[in-house]
Subunit: 287 residues, 2 copies
């Protein structure tokens, strides 16, 4: 028997025609993930895509994910025209998704929040570490503010606070607690923002300011921080001052991180809780 096959087809020993599918792995939720790596002609991609979807539909698969590196941008239009939608993108790739079943789209939501930190660093003289920034809202205003920054992808909040203080001012510091946090919406594009106000204990005191982003950095007496008009006007500044005062009086308990391990994947994460109020944690561990 002779049949015509194109280069991507194969005839197995039983004589049944096997059309190649896109290289895919199963995910944990009944879907498949296609991690495209090699360049491909859009027409070949379309052929493989249609054959693959047809096969996955028969197998009862649900979500179909295609991760396209930016180098394979020539395949994006084909996928979208076959019904794929964007799920998320990073600078170097685009993730597309297609939901096969008729009902119950249970595709996970995309990341919705950016996470930032503000670092309150107090020395023994009741002075606070403050900076003036070269860009942003307070540029050129002479306003002294606490070091702030964005938590990097995959970074812990406590680590980001220590890093930002070091980067902006050269000061080494030890993380103590999260004193409060603010959730704001439509902070950039359509996304939201979680801003964690942290308190740190300084381990060094000689300031070496960063040149690129920081105009000036210094230790400022708390009364001088309080006397800034912005501290009375801006609620977040006002609370930052109050948290400092409460902490100096040792009457305010924030959340501090406790390492916990997942029984499922053994990955380490951190649970932030009020440790001061959870004193008998070790007792209850023995119960």
């Amino acid at each position: 028997m002779s049949i015509s096959v194109n280069s991507s087809d194969q005839v197995c020993k039983t004589g049944i025609l096997h059309v190649d599918l896109l290289p895919a792995t199963n995910d944990a939720h009944g879907g498949v993930i296609v991690d495209m790596k090699d360049t491909m002609d859009p027409r070949d991609f379309l052929t493989l895509l249609r054959a693959s979807i047809s096969q996955w539909r028969e197998e009862g698969k649900k979500g179909v994910w295609i991760k396209l590196p930016i180098e394979l941008v020539n395949l994006v239009e084909t996928a979208v025209k076959e019904g794929f939608r964007y799920h998320h993108a990073e600078p170097h790739y685009l993730m597309l998704v297609y939901w096969i079943p008729e009902i119950n789209n249970t595709l996970p939501a995309n990341a919705s929040h950016r996470v930032g930190i503000g670092a309150i660093v107090l020395n023994d003289k009741k002075e606070m570490l403050v900076v003036q920034e070269k860009s942003g809202r307070f540029q050129g205003t002479g306003v002294w503010k606490i070091p702030t920054g964005v938590v990097d992808e995959g970074e812990d909040i406590f680590a980001a606070a220590v890093r930002e203080v070091k980067e902006e001012t050269g000061i080494d510091a030890e993380f103590l607690e999260i004193l409060a946090f603010r959730q704001a919406h439509k902070a950039f594009f359509e996304k939201s923002d979680l801003f964690f106000v942290c308190i740190l204990r300084p381990l060094s005191f000689d300031i070496q300011k960063q040149e690129l982003e920081i105009e000036a950095a210094k230790w400022i007496p708390l009364e001088d921080f309080a006397a800034q008009p912005v501290t009375q006007k801006h609620e977040l500044f006002k609370y930052i001052l109050e948290f400092c005062l409460e902490k100096l009086d040792r009457e305010y308990a924030g959340f501090s991180p406790l390492p916990i391990t997942s029984v499922f994947d053994h990955k380490l994460s951190y649970l932030y809780l009020n440790r001061q109020d959870m004193l008998c944690l070790s007792c209850s561990d023995q119960s």
Copy 2:
């Protein structure tokens, strides 16, 4: 004088040739945002894009953002080949970005975290509201867990906790506090996860479970929750139990939300803080 112009060019009264640019608005950081709405031939788009970049470069612009609705997927390849990179994507659009200056790429980071909640709802009989889910890790295991869910885009944490409890169990509840939160990395794709453990006071008691996601829902005595093997094995379950016990003894203070308004855009946001320890807030407001 006669010069040849294409349909998108214009000659003004002074006789100087004006090439049309892409429709753009300035952003607050020295960049421009192009919000493409109408269909366009990729070749026309390329002509406009090159003329626009050239113009913006002369004007000293920095980041160039192009928001392409998924209907304009035919323009993605052109933009990428001109040097644009993906910034982020949502199901209905792709945001591309191009950094003009030679140095100091200060483009803002993309959203990095998904935010979830777990709701501890306790009644006066020291019973906890628990569910069994139809999908996910505990599907079919008989494990009773607290209601959990993902915070929707633009939704406040306290609102998400109240909504999820209502959706899954039909119970009306009042938000009290965030007792703790966990940050985990590489939770889905490359993104991170913030999971807030909240405590709520029930306002109704008759359970009406949701059919789609929930297998069963009930009020369970705390000792029965404690007796589940998973509560001893799984650290997060163990802490959830401990938070319940601490709260019943009224010795554990979490963070509760306080509305604050930005002086810049007058937008409302919420600051979560230890209200129990910040009792003299009103006094210091008068200072």
